[in-house]
């Protein structure tokens, strides 16, 4: 004989209640799978970032020019610390698509020699390299508008709509997926670009250096060299590490928190299940102790059951987590266009999941087992077949005399705290579930609110960038001549560096009308005031700067101090930025060494703000500027909002997945409680049925008990859920993007509905079981 009777009993306790076993194991699987997937993805993506950074040659210095002779590459190569030079053309345009609003902003990169791309190379995944009249499109562009190799696409050039034949698909490491960025990318030969757009010379120089610490100095040397030979330098910057996992790390933190929540709830589920298990087997515990079992022997039997739950759940959870983690890694890698390289599973990932998956069930089970097996034989055997704990006969029950309430409802309500310890545990689990749901609801509401307010300071209908700065009067009059254009203001922003991180340095008019100033402290800049900024609240929070302090910002080739004169409300920014610094447009031009009578960016206000009218205006502006030989970017305000919303979808998916998991665990906990309640109240059920109660009336007793528990949980969750939601939103603000806390009272209503749905789902099976008990069988032992 291999298995002892106690071992067999432990195993049959598992197989005897298959549904409960399945649900408990599922709870453990979910927690362990989440932890495994997150850790696996974290390791894999970190490795992928490193692998891709090694694979893809990135630049350390970017210099933007009006145009430059390709032969300048040889001269730049001779500059000390320069390792690799790549000269290219970049053309911004619009791709005409069939889906609203009818176009997609697009960037075309062209090379003199497509066979010899030294920096930011692309991989040709399908087709061939393009000739004249042809283009290679980034594969992810198909997410914006489906197409295949051989199809024609149309882009806006100065000749109007220019058709190009798609001859290949590309994959560019480090580029955000088009569906994520809402921005398409394509590659052409320099000759092809010249024929299509008239741009015959490169306008961008990318440089990789030997010693990255000397990159700023190298950038200044190269810019000086270019200016010396008469080239018009429009700007430069230090791109930084394109494969910086920093922003993605924020997502990991959030996912780690969600995984911990799932594991804690799984632990509660174990406590609840073991308590139920012990409660169901009080008589067996008494019998075993009567025939010689010590407390330890009884506990060992139950721990064996828990061990099976833990081992099966952990093994399955690790398996699911590895698969899920791999899929999530692929998803993220496609989103950011990374090469995963040889996929490996770090043993520490599996080890951690195994330890956590085994420890939590055991740890959670010990307390209820210790408490439950303390019962004496006499207590255990005298509780057999008797419903509930001793009734306090010396005081009136709650609601006594309220005869207008159905007695079956009182049976349900007064049953809630029959077993106080178990009721408290169930309430705790339900409260956590409801609070987690409230946190998810509030977080999505806060994010939506943030996105809605993101551009609230920006009252324009359109944003226009001309690429290169153009004579101001000329561009302004061109824009104002477009039908439906009412107001045109200068506006540009560009990322700069500071010792705290990246800042969006923004230039606006001295007295803007489209930009809505919301000054919280200090003042606006005065006419002609030089080198002053207002910073937004987020930047002030992150830096601790006060009015009057100086803030140093820098690009690749220049550093400058600005004095803080005010703090304003402005939510602009984004992943990877720490805030906004706003200055006059003249100061902005001066900082980037651009002529004062030029401008490259504008906010445009329309007469008719209807979306269709704005979309038409955007197309007209694009046509007008392209006709002047420019390569503009024209974006509507709605496109900006949509792009931001799409980028948050991944967060919504994660949050609602968590909501589903916590709902499941809440249901499981309540299900266990109600199941035990049915078992303990068999005599009551038998008496009710003998008095004429239908199955439905019997079922309603337990449904009322479930609703009462859920209502209590709702009250408790309302108290702790709001601070919890605040904490979670603050976490997202700290690690991902600066979302402000916004709370809608309707979230409480949604949470109430959530708890009632849980109550109803959890009570279905126990209530049906109660309704189907046969009277004769119940009352026979009495």
């Amino acid at each position: 004989m291999i298995l002892t009777p106690l071992t067999r009993k432990a195993i049959r306790d598992i197989t005897h209640r298959r549904l409960r076993t399945l649900l408990v194991v599922l709870g453990i699987v979910v927690g362990v799978a989440g932890l495994t997937a997150i850790n696996l993805t974290s390791h894999a993506l970190t490795a992928a970032f490193a692998f891709s950074a090694n694979e893809r040659a990135t630049s350390d210095v970017s210099i933007f020019l009006a145009s430059v002779d390709p032969s300048v590459a040889r001269q730049i190569q001779a500059v000390p610390n320069v390792k690799v030079v790549q000269v290219l053309s970049f053309y911004g345009t619009r791709w005409k698509v069939s889906v609203p609003p009818g176009h997609v902003n697009m960037g075309i990169t062209a090379y003199q020699n497509l066979q010899d791309v030294k920096l930011f190379p692309f991989q040709l995944t399908n087709g061939r390299l393009p000739g004249v009249g042809e283009i290679v499109m980034e594969a992810s562009d198909r997410g914006l508008q489906p197409f295949k190799v051989g199809d024609m696409i149309s882009v806006t050039t100065r000749s109007g709509l220019t058709p190009l034949t798609v001859v290949g698909l590309s994959r560019t490491l480090g580029d955000l997926s088009a569906t994520f960025s809402s921005f398409a990318r394509g590659y052409m030969s320099q000759d092809g670009l010249a024929v299509a757009t008239g741009i015959t010379k490169p306008n961008d120089v990318e440089i990789q250096v030997v010693d990255k610490s000397r990159a700023p100095e190298t950038a200044r040397t190269v810019v000086a060299l270019l200016r010396q030979q008469g080239d018009v330098v429009l700007g430069s910057n230090l791109p930084g590490n394109a494969f910086d996992p920093g922003p993605v790390n924020g997502l990991y933190v959030i996912m780690d928190v969600l995984s911990v929540i799932a594991l804690i709830l799984a632990g509660f589920l174990i406590i609840n299940t073991v308590t139920t298990l012990v409660g169901e087997q009080i008589a067996s515990i008494g019998t075993m102790k009567a025939i010689g079992a010590t407390r330890g022997a009884v506990m060992r039997g139950f721990l064996l059951t828990v061990a099976v739950y833990a081992v099966v759940g952990t093994a399955a959870g690790i398996g699911v987590g590895l698969v899920g983690g791999y899929q999530f890694t692929l998803f993220m890698a496609n989103l950011i266009t990374l090469d995963i390289g040889p996929f490996q599973v770090d043993p520490s990932v599996i080890l951690l999941s195994a330890v956590v998956g085994l420890l939590i069930p055991f740890g959670a089970a010990l307390v209820p087992l210790w408490a439950g097996t303390r019962i004496t034989v006499r207590e255990a055997l005298s509780a057999y077949g008797v419903a509930g704990s001793p009734v306090r006969a010396d005081r009136m029950p709650v609601g006594a005399g309220w005869t207008w309430v159905p007695q079956t409802a009182w049976l349900g309500l007064r049953g809630v705290f029959r077993r106080r310890g178990r009721a408290v545990l169930t309430l705790l689990a339900l409260t956590l579930s409801a609070a987690a749901f409230l946190a998810v609801q509030t977080t999505t509401y806060s994010v939506n609110d943030y996105l809605g307010k993101l551009f609230s300071q920006y009252g324009s209908d359109l944003f226009v960038s001309t690429g290169q700065p153009q004579p101001l009067d000329q561009v302004r009059s061109q824009l104002l001549s477009v039908p439906n254009v009412a107001v045109v203001e200068r506006f540009s922003n560009r990322e700069v560096n500071s010792r705290w991180g990246h800042i969006v340095l923004t230039g606006v008019e001295q007295t803007p009308t489209l930009y809505r100033r919301d000054i919280l402290r200090g003042r606006w800049f005065t006419p002609g005031e030089k080198n002053v900024v207002l910073i937004n609240e987020q930047l002030q929070e992150k830096t601790g700067l006060r009015i009057g302090d100086a803030i140093e910002v820098s690009t690749g080739v220049k550093s400058q101090d600005f004095r803080v004169v005010g703090v304003l409300h402005d939510l602009n920014g984004g992943l990877g930025n720490i805030g906004v610094a706003m200055t006059s447009f003249d100061n902005w031009l001066a900082f980037f060494d651009l002529p004062a009578d030029r401008a490259g960016g504008f906010m445009v206000g329309a007469v008719d703000h209807a979306q269709a009218a704005v979309d038409t205006t955007a197309n007209r502006i694009d046509d007008a500027l392209v006709a002047q030989g420019l390569s503009p970017f024209v974006t509507t305000a709605q496109q900006n909002i949509s792009r931001n919303q799409a980028q948050f979808e991944i967060l919504y998916v994660l949050l609602y997945a968590v909501a589903a998991i916590v709902a499941l665990i809440g249901i499981l906990g309540l299900f266990n409680t109600l199941t035990t309640s049915v078992l303990e109240r068999r005599r009551e059920i038998g008496i009710m049925r003998s008095l004429g109660a239908t199955g439905r009336r019997v079922a309603s007793v337990f449904w009322v008990e479930a609703l009462a528990l859920s209502a209590l949980a709702w009250v408790a969750a309302s108290v702790i859920g709001i601070p919890a939601a605040y904490g979670f939103v603050s976490l997202i603000a700290a690690v991902l993007i600066n979302v402000g806390f916004a709370f809608s009272p309707t979230a409480l209503v949604a949470m109430l509905a959530f708890t009632f749905v849980i109550a109803t789902l959890a009570s279905v099976i126990p209530a049906l079981a109660a309704a189907r008990l046969r009277v004769a069988g119940i009352l026979r032992y009495e």
Binding site: M1, L6, R12, A290, G292, R295, V377, R378, L381, Y781
Partner: protein, 243 residues
């Protein structure tokens, strides 16, 4: 030749058990003193509420007295911890309950072997458990349903399994609390005959009953009323008399 009384296996001295606290104290047993002779079929008789089951629990260490003592085979029970009592019961006492108390997820044979696993099984190695279990089932005529679950057995059959379980560790004493209380008359007679027959194997059988017919079959015993002994017979005196 002088009549030699059987040595007492269990000695009870001034045993009292009070339940409740403060104003709600109830003395279920009051100052009981008696002996259980070895090898006897000892009956504890009395109406419902007389304290029979409470007395049985005290004799087997399932409960602790408020005062007084129980000396079992020369050892006082009171000084032991719960775990010590459990181990002691496993080796020295076989218990048969009114409601059988079989583990519902184990077969009949497994229920019997469970007592071997939990009761120390000092005499039997693990390889002998099955054989020993079947032997005990044979003793009570229950080998035919060794592999059936309790839910598939009648009350009489379940009680036979419970008796087999009580025998498996070869205890000196079998204690049965209303062993026939939940059975039909025919099954009750069969079960009681089985229990009574154990005394022929030098077992001492202590049983509780409110049925006077069964009580009359005892070779020694006491009668309880309201927690006190109102009658006793067959050597159940408090202190053995010297010849």
């Amino acid at each position: 030749m002088a009549h030699v009384r059987p040595e007492p296996l269990i000695e009870v001295e001034h045993l009292t058990r009070v339940f409740g606290a403060r104003e709600q104290k109830v003395a279920v047993l009051s100052d009981l003193s008696f002996c259980v002779p070895a090898g006897s079929l000892f009956g504890i008789n009395g109406p419902s509420g007389s304290g029979k089951s409470t007395l049985l629990n005290l004799l087997t260490g399932l409960d602790r007295p408020t005062s007084g003592r129980v000396v079992f085979g020369g050892e006082e029970l009171r000084a032991r911890t719960e775990n010590q009592l459990a181990r002691w019961r496993g080796r020295h006492v076989g218990i048969v309950f009114q409601f059988f108390q079989l583990i519902p997820t184990l077969t009949a044979l497994e229920n019997v072997m469970l007592a071997l696993e939990l009761g120390g099984a000092g005499r039997f190695s693990r390889g002998q458990w099955r054989e020993r279990g079947m032997a005990c089932l044979a003793q009570v005529g229950a080998t035919d349903f060794a592999n059936r679950m309790p839910a598939k057995l009648s009350g009489g059959q379940q009680q036979r399994i419970a008796i087999a379980r009580s025998l498996v560790n070869d205890p000196a004493v079998i204690v049965a609390d209303e062993p026939t209380g939940n059975l039909d008359s025919r099954s009750a007679h069969d079960v009681f005959d089985t229990l009574a027959g154990l005394t022929a194997q030098t077992k001492t059988v202590v049983f509780v009953t409110h049925a006077t017919e069964l009580a009359s079959r005892s070779t020694a015993g006491i009668e309880l009323l309201d927690g006190r002994i109102v009658a006793q017979h067959g050597g159940a005196t408090a202190i053995p008399q010297s010849a």
